[in-house]
Structure formats: structure tokens, C-alpha cells
Symmetry: C2
Subunit: 446 residues, 2 copies
């Protein structure tokens, strides 16, 4: 309505601030990653669910609304209902559980990979539309479920081709036991929020804030001591022993951590896990383990996968207690990180394995026949559909990152053969049968 372009009734093609198109060069890797993840989750018996993009605002925000309010897209629909676009996949899942738990067999293991929306100001690497990948186990509160989420997280990073990563874990219950031991449990919410800022504002600032909160310099110092690790390389169990002692001795939470760690050791994956008491996660609903994930080579990317145990997620909608543990991968951030790391998963945005050149349109059904035969052997074959010179066809294949070209010379047409060109090496093979060409391509690509 604002700017009227000069050209008669041409509307400027553009997207909203903080939103973006995914061209094939980005969408192909994104799908490769989500497909790999979905297959992996399913191998652990996790199943997909889907929920509406639009929900009652009251359902998403609760009665109050609060801080998130300004950040969400909400409006009145044509039926005068107050509706909003989901801002995460956790709240809709809580609502879903309250509504459907009797139809599901608990323990319930689910994943959900889809878009969410927040109206916050877009920054580098932050968008108003982005994709989250959540996975949770609901209906069980024990070390085995905690371990299974951590174990699947770990193997998920392998599946995505990420090599150097570290999971930083802590335990909310243990921290609360420590706070209770020091008589400041009532202020746990404020203390947690303060501690969560450690990476951002540093120790001195946190200490000052804690002093203000507790009105007690000794207590503030004790809290800072709890969340600080003098030695970054401190072994997991040493940290656990130290924190347990600071909390007044063994308790169910320290024991839970010991069991989880023993499972990690038995599975041989303990090296990826660090006990980091500064991890608290700001959100109120966590009650047990909490964790964040950092890429060793790209620490400035922040956490690419976070979560924890909650024991009362759906309490806004039901009196049923539904304990759970879960994780969320920020796919856009991870995709950007993989791009920066030069991951082959992100680099391979080829549209096809074979470009079938169109040099004589009267032979089109022959091209189609060859393409069908190749597809039956799992090859991706794109026939060039314009009647243009070979130069244009080579260029098209190159822009599409297609590694092989099939070209039919006049001799090929007569003899029912084809010419195969490896577009990477420029190597050419003449007078091949379709079967022989399939063998060459398959050997090279797979």
C-alpha cells in the first residue's frame, strides 16, 4: 500500500524482515539433515507428531501472557478468536499431551521438527521464522530415560556428520539441594536466572547480583563457588563429588547423576559429556538434568542443542502428572555452523546425478526410456528440456552441480548406446550400453 512502484501494477517481490526463502542450495542440505535425524530418531523408537501452527493465544501463553507476549505473532481471526503462531514446540506438546495422553501408550517417545515464529528483532543468525527439532520421552522419571535422551543426542550429532562437540550437563535438583542447604531455596527462580547469565556478564557481575538477591556476601560467594569450575578439565565424577559435598552430602539427585554417568561409560560415550554446574537453563519448568551443547570449533555459535528434565510440563492444562525429559536442536543455527565447518552434508546441493542432454528432440522418448532405466537403479536423472546448444546444457548441468552427462550421438541413436561424460574429470566414454553407464556412475557416486 505504501510505495507504489512506477511500472504499471508490478508488485515488488520481497519477503518480510526476519523471514527468508530457502533456495535449493540451502533447502537440499536442510532436508538431508532432517531426513537423517528422523531416520535416526525412529531407530530409537521415537515417533513423529504434528500440531497446528495456529493455536488459541490463551493456550500458548497461559492466562497471564507475560514477557513472551510482545515476541509472538498474535491476532484476532475472522471468528474474533484470539489466536497466535506457536513460538516453540514445547508448549504445543504440553497441550497435546494433556489432550491425548490417554490415547498414547506411555512411556511416549516423540519427535517434532517444524517451524516456529517469534517477533523479536532479527540479528545475525536469528530469524523471526526458524526451525526447531524437539525430541522427548514422557511418562517416566528415571536415570534410564535421562540417559536415553543423552545417548540419542550424542548419536544424532554423529549422524549429522558433526565431529567435535561437547555436552555440558548439570542437575537442577542437585542445585536446589545446595540452595536448601544454604537456606536460600525460596529464591531459587531468581538465583537460577542470575546464574544463567554467567557466560554473558561474568563472575563479578553475577556475584554482585547474587549478593543483592541474598543480602549475604558469604552465601553469594558460596553460590558462585558452586557454579564455577576452576579446572575446565575436571573429571565428571570429581565435579559431582565436589558439588555433592557442597550440597551437604549424597542425595537422590547426586545418585541419579552417578547412575546416568555409569550408563554413559558403559555405552562408551562419556567423553562427550562434561559436568558444568553453571548450566541452569533459564526456564522454570526444568526439575532434573539440564544441558547445553557446544561445537568445540565454533564456541561463538552458542548452544545448538539444549533441554532437560521437567516433571510437570502439562500442568497448565491437566492435573495429570506427566514427567518427561527432552531436547531441542536449533536447526538453522546448526545449519549455519555446518556450513562454516565445510560439512559435506551442506556442500552437496546437487540437483541430480545425471544430466540427460537433449540434442535431438525427435529422440525424446529414447531419453525418457534411458532416464527411467537409470532411475530404477536409484539414480537421479534430469532430462534437459529445452532445444538449445550443448554449451547451454553443459552450463545448466554445472550450475546444478550435476556430476554426469549422458549425450546421444547419431551413432548412439543407431546402435542403441550412449556417451557418458564425467563432468568433474571431463573424462568421456563412448558407445556404452545403458547398463554399463549405470555401473560406471554407481561405482563413482556410491
Amino acid at each position: 500500500m505504501s510505495k507504489e512502484p512506477k511500472a504499471k501494477s508490478i508488485i515488488e517481490p520481497r519477503v518480510l524482515k526476519g523471514f527468508r526463502d530457502f533456495l535449493p542450495s540451502m533447502e537440499i542440505p536442510k532436508k538431508a539433515i532432517t531426513n537423517n535425524l528422523e531416520k535416526h530418531f525412529r531407530s530409537y523408537g521415537f515417533v513423529p507428531i504434528d500440531t497446528p501452527v495456529l493455536e488459541y493465544t490463551e493456550v500458548l501463553l497461559g492466562k497471564g501472557g507475560g514477557e513472551t507476549d510482545k515476541q509472538i505473532f498474535h491476532f484476532k481471526d475472522n471468528g474474533d478468536r484470539d489466536v497466535a503462531l506457536r513460538f516453540d514446540l514445547t508448549v504445543p506438546f504440553a497441550r497435546f499431551l494433556a489432550q491425548h495422553h490417554s490415547e498414547l501408550a506411555l512411556p511416549f517417545k516423540r519427535f517434532h521438527i517444524d517451524k516456529v515464529w517469534r517477533g523479536e528483532n532479527p540479528q545475525k543468525g536469528r530469524y523471526r521464522e526458524f526451525t526447531q527439532c524437539d525430541f522427548d520421552i514422557v511418562g517416566v522419571d528415571n536415570a534410564e530415560a535421562d540417559f536415553e535422551i543423552l545417548s540419542m543426542m550424542d548419536s544424532s550429532f554423529s549422524v549429522m556428520g558433526v565431529k567435535n562437540y561437547q555436552f555440558c550437563i548439570a542437575h537442577r535438583g542437585l542445585f536446589n539441594a545446595f540452595l536448601a542447604h544454604h537456606g536460600v531455596l525460596e529464591q531459587s527462580v531468581e538465583i537460577l536466572r542470575t546464574v544463567d547469565k554467567l557466560r554473558k556478564i561474568g563472575k563479578d557481575e553475577v556475584l554482585a547480583l547474587l549478593h543483592e538477591l541474598t543480602s549475604d556476601q558469604e552465601k553469594a560467594k558460596a553460590i558462585l563457588q558452586y557454579i564455577s569450575k576452576e579446572d575446565e578439565q575436571e573429571p565428571f565424577l570429581t565435579t559431582l563429588d565436589r558439588l555433592t559435598a557442597l550440597s551437604g552430602g549424597e542425595n537422590p539427585f547426586s545418585e541419579r547423576m552417578r547412575t546416568i554417568y555409569s550408563y554413559l561409560c558403559n555405552a562408551g560415550i562419556e567423553a562427550h559429556f562434561t559436568f558444568d554446574p553453571s548450566i541452569t537453563r533459564g526456564l522454570d519448568y526444568y526439575t532434573g538434568i539440564v544441558y547445553e551443547t557446544f561445537l568445540t570449533e565454533l564456541p561463538h555459535f552458542g548452544s545448538v542443542c539444549s533441554g532437560g528434565r521437567y516433571n510437570d510440563l502439562a500442568s497448565l492444562y491437566t492435573k495429570e502428572k506427566l514427567p518427561g525429559v527432552g531436547s531441542s536442536i536449533g536447526l538453522d543455527r546448526l545449519l549455519a555452523a555446518l556450513e562454516e565447518l565445510g560439512s559435506p552434508l551442506v556442500a552437496s546441493a546437487s540437483s541430480a546425478d545425471v544430466a540427460l542432454f537433449n540434442t535431438d528432440v525427435t529422440q525424446f522418448s529414447t531419453y525418457d526410456r534411458i532416464a527411467r532405466a537409470m532411475r530404477k537403479h536409484g539414480l537421479r536423472v534430469s532430462i534437459y528440456l529445452l532445444n538449445k546448444k550443448q554449451g547451454a546444457q553443459y552450463k545448466w548441468a554445472e550450475t546444478n552441480a550435476i556430476p554426469f552427462a549422458v549425450i546421444l550421438s547419431e551413432d548412439d541413436v543407431q546402435n542403441n548406446t550412449l556417451t557418458l561424460k564425467n563432468l568433474r574429470t571431463r573424462e568421456m566414454q563412448n558407445a556404452l550400453s545403458t547398463e554399463a553407464a549405470i555401473a560406471v556412475i554407481t561405482k563413482e557416486l556410491f
Copy 2:
């Protein structure tokens, strides 16, 4: 804000009218279908793209707005921008093309499977949130591209496990030639819209409307004759010859149809295609072939896949001419149809291949080790995570439609073996090695 439920601050978990949750029993089949389709599209060299869910209202609706206006979800965002949820995948694609065509290598073959939103009144099988599956070839206007879309449509139905379907094709250009031959081309838009109602309102009503439109009973009769097929079984070429004659003889459009049909015959798929001159598709932008798809056993489901050739889709946003041809599958309707047909694709919502029973939690790491070994062989293994009696574990496996259970007896633990139970046949095998169990399960399932 309206109804305050009695229970203290519990919010009723519910979704908006016309929206729905997908439980795993529906989401698993939906994903199976979309994964199959994506793999299939990629085998033809089609690539995925993604566009924002939210766009400027002006971009989606054009300057005017018009009839669609009431049907779309639109609102002012926090920045006072007029924004709307996309109501199809075609308009965003036109905008995308206008914006990015210079970055793409034409001809460009793309697919896009995602949700769209319309505020229309929900009816049986119609929702306010639904999934479309679009695929298009842009940058080429010839019989080869038309054929390739039809050919991929045909094989897509095979891939989805649909057996009995019929594509009904017509050609807008040929119809326009016919209208020009009778001097009523100026009224083509109104005539097309009237003709499009044939299935709904019947011949007499259509004739009356056409008479009103053309003010000429003879012309109205001639149009009705063109769009009517006395013999449902009339061969494709007989219909084409008849319509060509009614249009004043051969023209580029009749020749295009002949070429397309020859390609269909050469590919051996012509039996799935009927020339149906009553198919016009209401939408203005089609200029060449148009088609709809009916399931022979479920004609009342209406068309499950429609589309056609457009030669100026992006003209709202650019002066660049971008001809294309494309199709759209209505996935929700198709899913409902497959369910009604008892398709195995829809029936198989099993959460895992193997339920690993948890009979002694001290053996948990052994369960984990067995699960890992089985997953390496492509099996989906879900460990039961609660410490409950076997009866509860059997029930859980049954509700999740898991075909095999692995149980470790005390002997198994001592001898490093396992007990395998086929939950369908109740057959039990004792003292198997993990490898032997993998072999048995793989043989049974794959």
C-alpha cells in the same frame, strides 16, 4: 478469556476449529508418503525449495484482494505491516521466481510440500490448515515438459501405492481456439467458469448459463457439445480429432496434444490418461494443458491432483516471462482416501520393530548394548523404560504395534543370549545370540 473453567487456573487443552493434531498413527503414514514422494521427485531431478509461511498481504493477494480475501488469515504485525498466512504454494512460488530466477538455472524443476491456511468453513475432509504437494517445471513451454509433469504424476501414484486412478486432461489453448472459431473468445473467462461447474450443476443448468452469457442458443449448444463426451470410453485420439474439427482444424494446441500423447504411448502409460474436455480448472492463469485426477474406486473424493500449464505466472511481480507447468496433490484428501482404501502405507503406524523389555534394571546397559547392535543393522528398537511387570510391557508393545519383543531371562544374562518373541504369531525362540535375532527379525520384516 471467555469461559473460566472451575478447576483453579487449568486451561482447557483444545485446538482451533478446522485445525487438528496428528497423532503418530496419522503422522507416521503422512511422513511415509511425503518421504516417498520427495525421493521420487528427486529421482526426476526436481529439487526442494521453502518459502515463508507469512508474507506481505499485498504480495499474496495482489493490489485488489478480491474473493480470496475473506478466506485468508491476515493481520497487522507488531511493525504495523499487513501480513497474511499463505493460502497456497503457487502464489509464493510465483513471487519466489520473480525474485530469484536469475540465481536459478532454467529450466528449473522444483517441489514444495508444506502447509497452507484458509479461513473457509470446515466441512468433512476440509480443514483450515492443510498440506499441499506442488511440483513444477519453469522456464520451458513445450510438449516435453508437459509430458514430464504428467509422467512424474503417474509414477508418483504408483510410488504412493495407489493402483486405480485416472488423469483427465484437456487443453485450454484448444478450447480457446474453439471459442475463437465461434466468435466468443472475449467471454472465455466467464465461459470457463461456467463449464467448470458441469460436474456440480449438470448439463441443463450449464446450457442455460451459457445461453445467458452468449445470448445465442446455437453457440451455447456448440459449447456444451464440445465439453460433453457421449462415450466415456472414447479413445484419446478420437476425442482429440473430434475437438480439433469442432475448433476449425489442426492448430498448434491440437498438435501439442498429439505430441504429448505420443510420448505417453512410448512410455507405455497412456492407459491412465483420458481426454476430458469438461476439465477447464477455474483459475485464470492456465494457458495450456489442464488436468484433474480421480481415484476410480473413490470418485466422490473429487480430484486429488490437479494442475496445468501457465505461461505467465509471475507477471504480478516481474516483466520477465516465466512459462511453466505444474501439479498440486492435496495430501490430506489423498491420505483420507488411502485410509479408506486400506492402503498398507497408511495401516503401518508401528513405532518400532523391536520392543526391548526391561525386566531387571540392573541389566539396563546390556539392553542398551543389544539395542545399539540391532540399530546398526537398520532395525528400530525401543527400550521399555519403566520398571513394570511384563504384562504392562506386552500391552505397551501391542499399543505401539511393535511386532517383536526381546526379553532377557536370567539364563540369557548369564549366557549372553536373548529370548525373541514374535508378537504376531506368539512364537518364542530361546537362547539366541543378538546376531541370530537380527537375522530372524530382518527376514520376517524386510
